[in-house]
C-alpha cells in the first residue's frame, strides 16, 4: 500500500508537521490523529510542511477543514508550505488558497506566525 508518514518538529513557537507520501482516505485518519494530539496539547500554531507529500485526496483535504475552526478559535492557525506544483494544483483547484495561507518556503511561514505573535502582544 501507499506509504504515509508524519513527523513532528518544533521551530520556535511553531509546531511543524512534515508529511510524506500519499494522503488518501486510508491514511487520512493518521493526520486526523496528529491534529487531535496537537490541539489537545493546546498547540495551535501549526505549520504543515508538504515538501514530501506526493498526493492528497479529497479525504485528506477534509482533515484540514475538520480542524481549522478549532485551531483558529484557539488563537492559532494552520498554514502550509513547500508544496510540489502538483499538490498545490489540487489545493488550488478546490480554492484552498482562499482559506489557508500557503507558503513556498517554511521560513516565511514561521516568520508570519512570529509576526502575528508580535502584533497581538
Amino acid at each position: 500500500m501507499n506509504e504515509f508518514k508524519i513527523s513532528f518538529r518544533v521551530s520556535g513557537k511553531v509546531h511543524v508537521m512534515d508529511l510524506k507520501g500519499y494522503l488518501d482516505a486510508h491514511t487520512a485518519p493518521n493526520l486526523e490523529e496528529a491534529f487531535q494530539k496537537l490541539i489537545k496539547d493546546q498547540k495551535f500554531n501549526i505549520l504543515v510542511n508538504c515538501k514530501d507529500l506526493a498526493y492528497i485526496s479529497s479525504a485528506g483535504l477534509g482533515v484540514f477543514m475538520a480542524f481549522i475552526e478549532d485551531v483558529r478559535t484557539g488563537g492559532g492557525d494552520i498554514k502550509m508550505s513547500n508544496m510540489s506544483p502538483k499538490v498545490y494544483n489540487i489545493f488550488d483547484l478546490l480554492g484552498f488558497p482562499m482559506l489557508y495561507e500557503i507558503f513556498t518556503d517554511e521560513h516565511e511561514a514561521v516568520k508570519k506566525f512570529d509576526a502575528k505573535k508580535q502584533s497581538s502582544k
Binding site: N2, A25, Y55, S57, S58, A59, L61, G62, V63, M65, A66, E69, K86, L93, L94, G95, F96, M98, L99
Partner: protein
C-alpha cells in the same frame, strides 16, 4: 421366521404331550419301558431342544439391559424354587422305589413331575442363554471358546445318563460332571459387564445377583441332598439327563451370580468415579456436537453452564464472553455475562467487581486457571466473605490465540470442593467452549457482513437511479456520459436539467470521500440541483445558493466540488462556473485548453468568501467544438508504477479524437484510463461527460 417359531413351539408341546401319554400308559399297565427307556429319553431331549430354540426366537425380539437380565433370571429361578417347595409340601403319594427305579404312585404325580420338569428345563435354558450374553459382553479371544467347552461338558454329563436308571450313577457322568464344574469356575470370572454399570445400576445388579444366587443355591440343594425331595425325584423320574443338566445349570447360576455379587460389591467404591468419568465423557461429546450445531451465542452459553454443572457437580456456574477487542482489554469493564445458573446478578457483581484486585482482574492478567479452595479465609477473596453459599471457587479463562475471549466460573458450597480432577476436566472443557464461542462469533460476524453487503447493494441500486437513466437528445448537440463507482457506492454525480425551451443545465460533481456517506450527500446535491437550477439560471448564482443550502447540513470535513454549465442549444453559448471541481476541457478545431474559472468547493466556507471566489465564464461554441467534463477519478487514476494519468494525457486523448463523435470520445477516454491503470482497476469513482456542438440548427 414365523413358521419356524410355530414349528418349534408346537413340536416341543407335542413331544412333551407324547411323553406324558407314554408315562400315563405305563402307569396304567404298571409296566416298565425296559429297553425303550433310551427312546423316551431321546424324545425328552428333542422336546427340550425345540423348546430352547423357541425361547431363543422370543429373546431376540426384546433386547434387555444387564440389570433386566439379572432381574429376570432371579425372578424365574425364584418362582421355580417356590413352585418346587409348594410341590414338596403337598406330600402326596409320590414315588415308590424299586431296583434303582422310581414308580409314580398316581397320575397326579406324573402330571406334577412333567410340569415341574418342563419348568426346570425352561429356567435352565433361559439361564444358560442369559449368562451366555453376559459372558460375551466385551468378549476376549477365549471367552466364546470357554463357554462352548462348558456347554459341551454339560451336555456330555447329561447325555451319559440317558441309559441309566434314575437312581444309578456312572463313572463317565461323574468325570464329565467334575470337568463341567471346572469350566463353571473358569467361566465365572467373565464379569466385565460390571465395570460399565453406573453406580445406581451396580446397586440393582448386586441385589438381583444375590437373589439369583440364593435361588440357584436352593435349586441345587433341592436336587442334591441325599433324602431326595420331590423336585429331585420328579426330575429323575422324568429324565435323568434333564436332572443332570438342571443341576449343572443351577450350580453355574449360583457360582456365576455369587461371583457377580462379590465383584460388584468390590466395584462399588469406584462406581462414583466411573460415573463421573462417564458424565464428563458424555458432556464433552455433547459439547463437540454442539459446536457444529449451535451458532447462537446465548443458546451455547446456556448449554455450557449447564454442562459445567454436570461435569463437576458445581453449586453455581456462570459464563462471561468478551466478543470484541475493547472488552478484552480491561478487567474493570462491564461484565459480559451471557449465562448464569443458580446465582443472582448481584452476587456475581460482588464477586467480579467487589474489589479493585478482584479474582476477575487476576485472571485477566494471568490468563491461567484460578482455584480458591477456601473463599472465606483466602487473602484474594476476602472481599466476598459475605457470600455465604460460596465455599470454593474455580475460575477458568477461555483463551484463544493469546486473547482472553471469556471466563468460565464454577462455585461449590463446601470449602475444598474442587479436586485436581475437576480442574483438569474443566480446563479441557474450557478449550472446547473456546472453540465453540469462536465459531459462534465468526458466524455472527459473517451473517452481519452478509447483511451489510445486501444493504450496500441496495444503496448501489438506489444511487444508480439518482443518475439520469437517459440523456435528452437534441438535433445539434451530442451528449454522452458514463459513471463508474470505485466501491459499491460512490460520490460522483452528474445530471442534466431542461431549463426552458432552448437551455439545458449540465452539472458534474464529486463528493469528498467515498462510500455510503458520500452517496448521501450526492442525493442531497441532486435535490438541490433539480430545484435550484430551475430558479437561478446564472451558474454563479446557482452555486452561491447551492452552497448556502449545503453548508448547514454538510459535515465540516466534507465538501463537494461541482461544475455547473448552462448550454443554449439554439446558439451554442455555454456559461459555466466552477466550485472547486476539475477544470473543463475545451477543444476546438484549432486549439485545446482547460477552462478554469476560479471558485472554491461547496461546503468549505459560507457567505462572502465563497461568493467572491466564484467566476463565470462564457464560451461561444463553434461547429465541431467539444467540451469534456470529468471527475478526478480520470486524472488521478494511477498506473502500476504509481504515476497519475494526469491532465496532459487526458488532453492528448481528446486532441486525438476531437473530430470524432461524443460517444467515441467518451469511450476512448474510458478505454485509455482503463488500460493505463491496467489490472488495478479504478481506485476512485470515475465519471466522464462529453458535449459536442454540431452547429446551430437551421
Amino acid at each position: 421366521m414365523k413358521i419356524r417359531k410355530l414349528l418349534t413351539l408346537f413340536g416341543s408341546i407335542l413331544l412333551f404331550g407324547a411323553v406324558f401319554i407314554i408315562d400315563a400308559a405305563m402307569k396304567s399297565l404298571d409296566a416298565d419301558l425296559g429297553n425303550f427307556t433310551a427312546v423316551r429319553g431321546a424324545l425328552v431331549i428333542l422336546a427340550f431342544i425345540l423348546g430352547t430354540l423357541y425361547i431363543e426366537t422370543l429373546r431376540k425380539e426384546n433386547q434387555l439391559t444387564m440389570i433386566q437380565r439379572i432381574g429376570r433370571i432371579a425372578a424365574w429361578a425364584g418362582v421355580f424354587v417356590a413352585l418346587s417347595i409348594i410341590a414338596s409340601l403337598l406330600r402326596f403319594n409320590e414315588f415308590e422305589t424299586r431296583a434303582f427305579r422310581l414308580f409314580p404312585r398316581d397320575y397326579i404325580t406324573i402330571l406334577f413331575s412333567t410340569v415341574l420338569s418342563i419348568a426346570a428345563g425352561i429356567v435352565s435354558a433361559m439361564t444358560m442363554l442369559i449368562i451366555k450374553d453376559m459372558l460375551l459382553y466385551k468378549r476376549k479371544k477365549g471367552t466364546q471358546r470357554n463357554f462352548w467347552i462348558l456347554l459341551v461338558f454339560f451336555l456330555l454329563a447329561s447325555v451319559t445318563t440317558v441309559n441309566l436308571r434314575p437312581l444309578e450313577i456312572s463313572v463317565y457322568t461323574t468325570v464329565f460332571f467334575v470337568l463341567a464344574v471346572v469350566m463353571i469356575i473358569i467361566n465365572s470370572f467373565r464379569l466385565s459387564w460390571i465395570a460399565y454399570l453406573s453406580r445406581r445400576e451396580k446397586i440393582y445388579a448386586m441385589v438381583y445377583a444375590l437373589l439369583a444366587f440364593f435361588a440357584f443355591m436352593a435349586i441345587n440343594i433341592l436336587l442334591s441332598i441325599s433324602d431326595k425331595p420331590f423336585l429331585a425325584k420328579a426330575l429323575l423320574y422324568f429324565s435323568y439327563p434333564l436332572h443332570t443338566f438342571v443341576q449343572l445349570t443351577s450350580l453355574f447360576g449360583a457360582v456365576y451370580f455369587g461371583m457377580a455379587f462379590i465383584s460388584t460389591l468390590f466395584h462399588l467404591p469406584t462406581a462414583e468415579a466411573f460415573d463421573r468419568k462417564q458424565t464428563e465423557l458424555n458432556s464433552l461429546h455433547n459439547l463437540s456436537r454442539l459446536i457444529t450445531q449451535v451458532f447462537d451465542l446465548n443458546e451455547l452459553a446456556d448449554t455450557v453452564t449447564k454442562m459445567t454443572f454436570e461435569v463437576c457437580e458445581a453449586q453455581s456456574s456462570w459464563l462471561e464472553v468478551f466478543p470484541t477487542e475493547s472488552e478484552r482489554k480491561s478487567p474493570h469493564s462491564d461484565n459480559g455475562i451471557v449465562s448464569a445458573k443458580n446465582i443472582t446478578a448481584e452476587e456475581i457483581q460482588t464477586i467480579l467487581f467487589g474489589d479493585t484486585t478482584s479474582i476477575r482482574s487476576l485472571v485477566f492478567s494471568s490468563k491461567k486457571v484460578l482455584l480458591i479452595d477456601d473463599v472465606s479465609s483466602d487473602r484474594r477473596t476476602k472481599y466476598m466473605t459475605k457470600l455465604k453459599n460460596v465455599g470454593s471457587l474455580l475460575v477458568v479463562p477461555l483463551v484463544s490465540h493469546q486473547n482472553l475471549i471469556g471466563i468460565l466460573y464454577a462455585t461449590k458450597q463446601m470449602d475444598f470442593g474442587f479436586d485436581q480432577d475437576d480442574i483438569e476436566v474443566l480446563s479441557g472443557f474450557a478449550d472446547q467452549v473456546t472453540i465453540a464461542i469462536e465459531n459462534a462469533t465468526l458466524i455472527q460476524k459473517s451473517l452481519e457482513k452478509e447483511r451489510l453487503q445486501r444493504e450496500l447493494l441496495l444503496a448501489q441500486e438506489m444511487q444508480k437511479r439518482l443518475l439520469p437513466q437517459t440523456l435528452p437528445t437534441f438535433p445539434n448537440v451530442e451528449m454522452q456520459a458514463v459513471s463508474a463507482p470505485a466501491l459499491e457506492v460512490g460520490g460522483d454525480y452528474y445530471d442534466i436539467a431542461i431549463l426552458d425551451d432552448h437551455r439545458v443545465g449540465i452539472v458534474i460533481g464529486d463528493v469528498s470521500g467515498k462510500g455510503v456517506g458520500a452517496a448521501f450527500y450526492m442525493a442531497e446535491v441532486k435535490g438541490i440541483f433539480q430545484s435550484l437550477s430551475k430558479i437561478y439560471s446564472s451558474p454563479k448564482t446557482f452555486l452561491i445558493n447551492a452552497n448556502q443550502s449545503l453548508i448547514s447540513s454538510i459535515d465540516k470535513r466534507s465538501f463537494i466540488s461541482l461544475i455547473y454549465a448552462v448550454l443554449d442549444v439554439s446558439t451554442g453559448e455555454l456559461i459555466l462556473s466552477r466550485a472547486g471541481h476539475c477544470p473543463m476541457l475545451y477543444a476546438t478545431s484549432s486549439s485545446i485548453e482547460y477552462i478554469t474559472p476560479t471558485g472554491m468547493g461547496l461546503g468549505l466556507s459560507a457567505g462572502k468568501l465563497f461568493e467572491d471566489s466564484l467566476e463565470e465564464k462564457k464560451i461561444m461554441m463553434k461547429t465541431g467544438d467539444v467540451c469534456v467534463f470529468y471527475t478526478d477519478g480520470v486524472t488521478e487514476s494511477r498506473s502500476a508504477s504509481g504515476e497519475e494519468f494526469g491532465y496532459e494525457r487526458l488532453m492528448s486523448v481528446v486532441e486525438e479524437k476531437r473530430s470524432c463523435s461524443a460517444e467515441e470520445i467518451k469511450e476512448e477516454i474510458i478505454q485509455r484510463v482503463w488500460s493505463y491503470t491496467d489490472a488495478q482497476g479504478y481506485d476512485d469513482d470515475l465519471t466522464v461527460f462529453v458535449v459536442r456542438w454540431n452547429g446551430a440548427p437551421r
